[in-house]
C-alpha cells in the first residue's frame, strides 16, 4: 500500500508539469493583458516597454513558461500584472479563496452525500415503488436543470422568506453576501444566527445538485449488489431482511460512492463557480470569473494549478479509498 502511494505521487508529478504547460498555454492564448491599457490613451514606447517587461510578454513563450514554472515551484506565484488592478499577490489571494470555497463546499458535500445515500438505498430496496419513481424524477429534473437557474430561484425564494421572517419578527436572517467577514462578532447566539443565515441558501443550492448525482449512483450500486448471488444466499439462509440489506449489501454498495464523492470533491474546490457568483461569495469561482475577465494571467494560472493539485490529490485519495474498502483490489 505504501509503495503504491509513493508510486502514484511520483506519477502525478509529470502529470502536474504537463498540466502546468497546458495552463500556461491557455492563459497565454487568453489575450493581451495590456490590451485595454494600451487603448485607454496614447502611451509612449518607453511606457509600453516597461509594462511589457513587468508582464513578461516581451520574452518568447518558452522562456516565460520556464521563468514562471521555476518561480511557481519555489513558492512565488507572481502578482497581478494588469495596470489599474490592485497588484495583489497571487498566492495569498488564491489560498484565501480556497478557504472560503472549502467552507462552503464541505458542509454541502456531507449533507448531499448522506441524503443521496439514504434516498439511493431506499430507492434500490423498494425498486419501482412510488418513492423510487419520485426520487428518480427529482434526480432527473435536477440533472437537466442548469445550476444557475436553481441558484437564482433559491435566491429569489430567499428574499420572500426574509420578508416573511421580518414580519414574524426574526429579522432578515438569510443573507446572500458571502460568509460573515471581519465585523463578525456579538453573542454566540447572534454569531450562529449570522453564520447559518449566510450559509443556508448556497448550501441548499449545492446540495440539490450533488444530491441528484449521489442518489443515482447509490441506487445503481445498491441494485447491483442486491442482485448478487451472495445476497440471495443470505436471504435463503433466513437472515432478516434488514440485516441482509445493511450488513451484507449496503457495505459493498458503499465502495463506488466513496470513490465518486472523493473525485467530485476534488473538482468542486475549483468550481462552485455559479453558486458563488449568485450568492456573492468571494471564493474560487468568483476569483476565476474575475481574473479571466481582467485577463490576469498569473492569477488564472494560480487558480488552475491549485485546482489541478486538488483534483490529482483527490484522485489519489479515491484510489486509496477504493483499495481500502475492497480488499480484492490489489494495488501493486
Amino acid at each position: 500500500m505504501f509503495r503504491f502511494i509513493i508510486r502514484r505521487v511520483l506519477i502525478s508529478i509529470p502529470m502536474l508539469v504537463l498540466a502546468s504547460f497546458l495552463c500556461f498555454a491557455l492563459t497565454t492564448a487568453m489575450g493581451d493583458p495590456l490590451g485595454e491599457w494600451k487603448l485607454q490613451k496614447p502611451r509612449s514606447p518607453g511606457e509600453i516597454a516597461a509594462a511589457e517587461e513587468a508582464v513578461g510578454s516581451n520574452k518568447p513563450f518558452l522562456e516565460r513558461y520556464g521563468n514562471w514554472a521555476v518561480h511557481f515551484a519555489e513558492g512565488d506565484w507572481g502578482k497581478e500584472v494588469v495596470p489599474g488592478d490592485t497588484g495583489l499577490d497571487v498566492k495569498p489571494t488564491v489560498l484565501k479563496a480556497v478557504g472560503i470555497t472549502a467552507r462552503l463546499v464541505i458542509a454541502s458535500e456531507i449533507i448531499a452525500l448522506l441524503l443521496g445515500m439514504a434516498v439511493g438505498v431506499i430507492g434500490a430496496v423498494r425498486q419501482y415503488s412510488a418513492f423510487d419513481y419520485t426520487a428518480t424524477g427529482i434526480a432527473f429534473t435536477m440533472f437537466s436543470m442548469p445550476l444557475f437557474c436553481v441558484a437564482l430561484v433559491i435566491k429569489s425564494l430567499g428574499i420572500n422568506v426574509n420578508d416573511w421572517l421580518e414580519k414574524v419578527g426574526l429579522g432578515r436572517w438569510l443573507t446572500t453576501a458571502g460568509p460573515p467577514g471581519e465585523g463578525f462578532n456579538g453573542s454566540l447566539g447572534h454569531q450562529i444566527y449570522q453564520y447559518t443565515g449566510a450559509f443556508i441558501l448556497p448550501t441548499i443550492c449545492l446540495v440539490s445538485i450533488q444530491f441528484a448525482l449521489y442518489s443515482r449512483f447509490q441506487r445503481a450500486s445498491m441494485l447491483d449488489v442486491l442482485n448478487a448471488d451472495y445476497v440471495r444466499t443470505a436471504q435463503a439462509k433466513g437472515i432478516s431482511q434488514a440485516r441482509v440489506v445493511f450488513r451484507h449489501a449496503y457495505r459493498n454498495a458503499l465502495i463506488p460512492i466513496a470513490t465518486v464523492s472523493a473525485l467530485n470533491f476534488g473538482s468542486l474546490v475549483g468550481g462552485a463557480v455559479i453558486t458563488e457568483t449568485v450568492f456573492g461569495w468571494q471564493g474560487m469561482g468568483k476569483l476565476l470569473v474575475d481574473s479571466i475577465n481582467h485577463l490576469e494571467p498569473y492569477m488564472v494560472l494560480g487558480f488552475m494549478m491549485t485546482t489541478a493539485v486538488f483534483i490529482i490529490a483527490f484522485n489519489l485519495i479515491a484510489d486509496i479509498l477504493y483499495a481500502f474498502l475492497d480488499p480484492r483490489i490489489r494495488l501493486d
Partner: protein, 318 residues
Amino acid sequence: MTDAIISVVNPVSETPGGSQFDSESARKQWQVVLRRFLRHRAAVAGSALFALLVLFAFLGGYVWKYDYHQVQLGRYLPPSGEHPFGTGHLGEDMLAQIIRGTQFSLQIAVIVAVAATAIGVVLGAIAGYLRGWVDSLVGRAIDLVLVLPPFVIAAALTRSTFLLEATKAGSQASNWLLVAIYISLISWMSIARTVRGMVLSLREKEFVEAARALGGSTLRIVFRHILPNTVDVIIVNATLTIAQAVLLEAALSFVGLGVQPPDSSLGLLINQNKNDLTLHPWLFVIPFVFIVAISLSVNFIGDGLRDAFDPRQKRVRA
C-alpha cells in the same frame, strides 16, 4: 472482390445483428431499434418536444410579428396577448428574443455534439486500434484535460484570441461559433475513452483478424469493420452531449464568459436580465423553462436510444 469476401466472412459488419442465428433476422437492426424506441414513451415524448423546439427556434422568427431587434415596445410589460412572454428592459419583445436565443443555443449544442463526437471517435478508435505510443499520447491528452474542470478550460478559452486572429473574423459576428468550437474541444474525452475501450476488445475478434488476413488497410478495418459495431454507443453519447453542451453554454454565458452580444443564447438572456428577477420574473422563468425543455427532451431521447440499442433488453418485444 474483397468486398464480397469480407461480407461473407463477416456478416456482422454488413448487416449488424442480422445473422441467421438471430430470431429477429427478418428485420434489419435499425427497424428493431426504431420499434423499441417507439415503445419508449418518454423517449417519444422527448423527440416530439425536441422537434417542436427546433421548429420554434428556426421558423418562429419568420412567423412572429415582432423582430428581435425591435425595441421601445414598452418596457417591462408582463406577459399578455400582445407579448406572450412580456417585454424586457429596452422594451424588446421577449418571444422574439427567446426564439433567437433558442436558435443559437440549439446551433451551438448540435455543433458541439457533432464535432466532439467526430474528434472523440477518430482519436479513440485510432488509439485503441494502434495502441503503443499513439494510445499513450491520446491517453495523456485525455488525462490532462480531466485535471481541470471543463468549465474552467472553457472559460479561459472563450477569452482567447488566437482563433479570432486565425480566422480573421475580427468582428464579433461569429462569436457563437467560436463558443461552440471551444466547448467541442473540451467535450470529446468521454466519448474517446468509451470508443477506445470498445475498439481495444473488438480488435481481437475473429472478424477483424479475417479482415487483416485478407489485406484490409488499417483505415478500412477501423472504419468499415470495427466502428460500425460501436455505432450504438456513439449515437447515445452524441445525444447526451447535446444536453451537456446546452447546460455548459448556458452556464458560461450566464457568468459572462460565453456568447456575447450581438449574438444571443438562452443563458445570455438570463444574464442580461439577472438583476430584474424578483420584479419581473418572466424575464428569467421563460428562458429557464426553455433550457430545461431542451436538456430534458434530449436526455429522454438518449435514454430511449440506449434502451433501444441494448440487445439484452427484452422487456419490450421488438
